[in-house]
Amino acid sequence: MHGKLLNGNRGIKLFSRHAAVPLLSLACFSLLLAACAQTSHLKQTDAPVSIPRNAKILLMTPDIQLFELTAGGMQEPKADWTAAAKQHVRSTLAKQLASRNDVIVPYEAPADRDAEHDHLQLVKLHETVGNTILVHKYVPALNLPTKRDKMDYSLGEGVRQLKARQAADCALFIFMRDSYASAGRVAVIAAAAVLGVAVSGGVQQGFASLVDLETGNIIWFNRLVRGYGDLRTPEPASEAVTQLLAGIPL
């Protein structure tokens, strides 16, 4: 976002604040890579739930963004890649879950603005809780003493709003970010390698969670973090979704 009128250190430069988001997630990524060895998915320990066959799963709008890594290391958002990735993720999900006779219901935003606002707050809450799980469950050094041997995160009973509107049993949330080196970046990586300097060439990261729409409990959670993969084309995208959904109790 451009257009700050006032120079000086008291204002906030808006564009850089937004641009900081992918950078931040990159930092998280390196933190998580260090913890890559452990098993990935987590299951609710507080009140384990077994989901009936033919369950109705509300698929929340997947939050997916793809970027190109420029030679200088900037992440350029890519609309066409993102649109393709969303399409691939949706069709893979439909295929995988249909094989179990579960019914997938895509989330529909309500026309009522207040209801939509409440739903979006739930999406934001999920993002915050998801990030907390990523940091505190997957990075051993940051394990919280009160959560060490259990997985009892919940979004609370507010999720019943979602259940009421679309009559679903659980909701599946998906968050994915993927970046790819541009030709220029590849050249920089190669040159850097000659000089003995390591330069990042893009990452694939994401997390998914299954939420019980009665209690708000996160029944199952998984994350994907790796330096390869491709959401832009159908097969690798399908493979990434399969990885992400590994161990999902559906």
Binding site: G3, G8, Q65, K78
Partner: protein, 391 residues
Amino acid sequence: MRRRCIIFLVFAYGIGLIACATAPVADIQPGAKPDLDTDEAGLWMYMDKAEADLKNSGRIVTDERLTNYIGDIICRLDSHQCEHMRFYIVETPDFNAAMAPNGFMQIWTGLLLRSQNEDQLAYVLGHEIGHYHRRHTLQQWRRTKNTTTGLAVFQLLTAGVGIGVAGDIAYIVGIAGLMAYSRDMEREADDIGFDLMLAAGYDPREAPKIWRNLMEEMEAAGDSMPSIFFASHPTTAERLRTLEEMAQAAVGDSPAAAPKKEPYLDMIAPFRGEWLHDELQKQDFAATQVVLNHLFAENKRPGELYFYQGELYRMRAETDDREKAVEAYQKALTQDGFPPETYRSLGLLYWKSARMDPARDAFENYLAARPDAHDAPMIEAYLKELENNEN
């Protein structure tokens, strides 16, 4: 000698970065959307998400009267494109407005508090519309990309031969190039904002005034003026001068109409107290004092202003500030528009000064005026303690 050569090369490289050409960008066409495979579509996608987040941030002023009023100003400034723009009034106590490439504008409440009439606000909104017309975010993005590409290559070169300092210099020169570009875009947006306000019948002589007030605030706060090297925008003094000359050339001393002052001040009146409260949370008391002084000059509901003057002293808490605060609250109580919270603040200061009788009166007045106040139980506890002390 070798070192001097390296430094020379570094500067040559830095200058090369600045000169790196970016193809000219045409103005945005009404309703046009970028093709999906373009960098511009990527920026729009990113900003669509930012817009959705902002919209649901809980910090948006949704008052219908105020939003209709501002929407009308935007459409008066730009009737061709206003249907393709959205705007959000964001509760943030700083002078700022910002335009995103996909057509959403943020208007901070600190700007609304500081604008003295519709004409001044119209100028700033026109400036933001200018960024949108000229697709400045896209231009800035391409420029930054070109420059950082150069920087990464350069950092590699210097990493290879081990000259860290040289890398820093190239970085500084490169950054200055970015900033210079941004300054040009700000000037361009200034010009567009000026033209739009003039065409919409506003008094262009109001445009420089908002900068003059801002300069006064910055000087009071002790902010040094930014050095030319790092200034990302034309200095306020330069903008002020340019706008004054432009206004003189455009209308001389006879503008089409007088500034729209009364309707503007009436429009923001219901929010003024809340926005002043937000300003005070920054604890930048010298700057807030300048804002208050300008509002005192308008002489609208001075009781509210004296209350916030008292709050400023109470929060600043320097020598004699307690006495000054009490004086300001007492003055507020004699004026139109003071909020019941004046009694509460006054009661607290009396309490601290061990003036128990006036403290009790003030607290009782507060509870009488605000029986449902969220802090009523607290004040009742104070009153009880006062009663116990008496017995």
